[in-house]
Amino acid sequence: MKNLILTLLLASSLPIGTAAQVRYEDIVKGPGADWLTYAGNYEGWRYSPLKQITPQNAGSMTAQWTYHVPDSGGLRTNPIVYKGVMYVTNSNSMHAIDARTGRLIWRYDDPQATKKGVNRGSAISGDSVYFTTTDNYLVALDRQTGALLFHKKFGDVDKGTTSTSAPLVVKDKVLVGSAGGDSGMRGFIVALSAKTGEELWRTWTVPAKGEKGSETWSDLHEWGGAGTWLSGTFDPETNTLFWTTGNPWPDFAGGPRMGDNLYTSSVLALDLETGKLKWYFQFTPHDVHDWDAQSWPVLLEIQWNGKPRKVVVHANRNGFFYILDRQTGEYLKATPLTDNITWAKGIDDKGRPVLVPGKDPTPEGNWVCPSIKGATNWMGQSFNPGTGLLYVLTLEECGMFTLSTQKPVPMKNFAGGAATEPGGQVYLRAIDPKDGKRVWEYPVGNTSRTWSGTVSTATGVLFSGDDDGHLIALDAKTGRHLWHFNVGDSLTASPITYEVDGKQYVAVAAGTNVFAFGLFEPVPSMALPKMTTTK
């Protein structure tokens, strides 16, 4: 084997060759064998056409492999899968795993990162995979080897900004959000070149002084929050991004920031090429309960007054489920997502909440439903075109909201008060997106620890997690239990499904590990190959 490395000969193709490129069209097409973007497709459906696992055979699923992510805890990562390779992230690191076996292929770490925090995943395009460091660098890596392609700063930790979300790649752009809104920062969405990492545009989610919308702040808008810490969705037909924003700061103290506080707790429709705001809709004006709006907007076409209509649907932490016109942002309808909503009597015909007086945080404490955790959260929603249903993990929980009278100081972990999370009943609910009506619900625990979202398939199998650390499979039509598996830790991320070599897998990150499941198949005995060592 002399001159082994310099005289490589590739004499045959192997069972899995990975030479190919991820194109924009591949992501537009949505999941098949691969899972190419955070929510599966640009419309945010978390839906897979795979058919191997069915309601009839899901009960025979078994664990296929486990990958331990070193130095991790409470993993939030949403795996990306392409050509048999799975990409998972941890704080300031990415791991490429053989998606058939769970064996590590390469790992990239950024030990010089100055901050450490949660990370929700990666994005893929061409031959590159992307993720962000907690201290706001976009990292591009060769998807096959993990070799660094570029490393570009896009935000400033000294101004309160960190990064936790998975990037979203659309065409030649990598869209990245911002986090840190609970201790003062100014949120933004930034588009960076997928080739070089250069900034192409930046849209601030809190207007600068004098700009339209700044009149909705009495003060503090330069530290007003509106983080964008969850990946958005995208409409290829209109070249429009849909991105939700976080709470205003200080979270619980509305006094220093009187007004609606645009564009916090909102959904923004942005032009992909320029970042220009096409329209916005604010779910919770002047939010004082830290509900924000972090649950990605799902893009659907529904029957509305007997005609098809393109809409954005959104299950919001404030307790309501919304239907908006996708082109204009016009408010169409809102219905209660949870049974316990005490801060608003409902939503008026303009989409504005009809407030119940006296529900703001007080120095003594004010008991309000939903709790700070919200009626749902960043685990998001999924939509199955076969059943026509939207699946949302919801929490029936109330909490005590207290107000601090201290003067707000940015970047000092000052939230303007505090809130309790005493525990509540979690339900996985199926909702008809045409009218918001609840079709079925499945209780998934009462400790409200689960942060697992959902994924569903063409055969009508719905996967999610419960409060007790089980990955579960339900019949997507009825909510009937099909299967469960105890992963031994809290589920803090959403499952995905993919296929390699004709086998369908369901994968989820939980605690410090990534697990993959599939239908049981006996493992045939194999003869180990002859192994030799050469000079």
Binding site: I5, D98, I105, A147, L148, H151, M526, T533
Partner: protein
Amino acid sequence: MRRFIRNPVRAPLALFFLPCLALAQHGQVDLKAPDSLKNPESVAAGAKLYATSCGGCHGPEGIGGRGPNLIKRLARNIPDGELFATLRNGLPGTDMPPTSLSDDDTWKLAGYLRSISGPANQAVVPGDPANGEAVFNKAGCAGCHAILGKGSRMGPDLSNIGANKPLAAIRDALVPSKTDPSKNYQLQGAEGVKVTMKDGSTLQGIARNRSNYSLQIVDQKGDLHLVSMDKVRELQVKEGSPMPADYGQRLSATDMRDLLAYLARQSVRSAK
């Protein structure tokens, strides 16, 4: 808060040092490092102390000899106070003696050890990085390694090598100071392999990982192949590192200096 300890023999360092310092016994030790620890003059003075007191056992550049490789051991983030205490007290039961150096000189010695074991991009590395880049391409480095996407992706990526490795470790990779048999057992993720499939086809490259049941291999083009071992007839594994060991002979002293200067500056968080 300052802490005082007496004779702190710590297991992690117990096998690191060999006798290079004169015997002496000192009393309590203030373990807070002085502000001058990274001062260039202090480090230079520490270098002289190292040459006369330590280099005989641990090698002139700290990469080992009769005594262990200090560059690798000190990369384990040993606290300053623990390093000082080990220099001061030696390691009973080993050939590493206590020192009679003053506290000030012992800290200078610790500062020098820190400087040679820290990231290369924080060290003063003489040479012409521009010529080093040319050498990187001319000498064949880019045939296996890449820096920010330029070069082959088959071997370890060097985009951040200056921030991740001490200068001595980079030099040791280019000019191995000695044949260390243990290097052959530390190649996980970098083994040269040739695979013969049951259908007779072959594949060669670097095994990023392998087990009895699956193999993940990158070929010279940088393409990844996922192999099921039940389809493999024979697996040949190259003994030792695929990294050529003769750069010390192939490159002139100037080119080697400039290549080191170039590699030492590879840090993705530094301005380019």
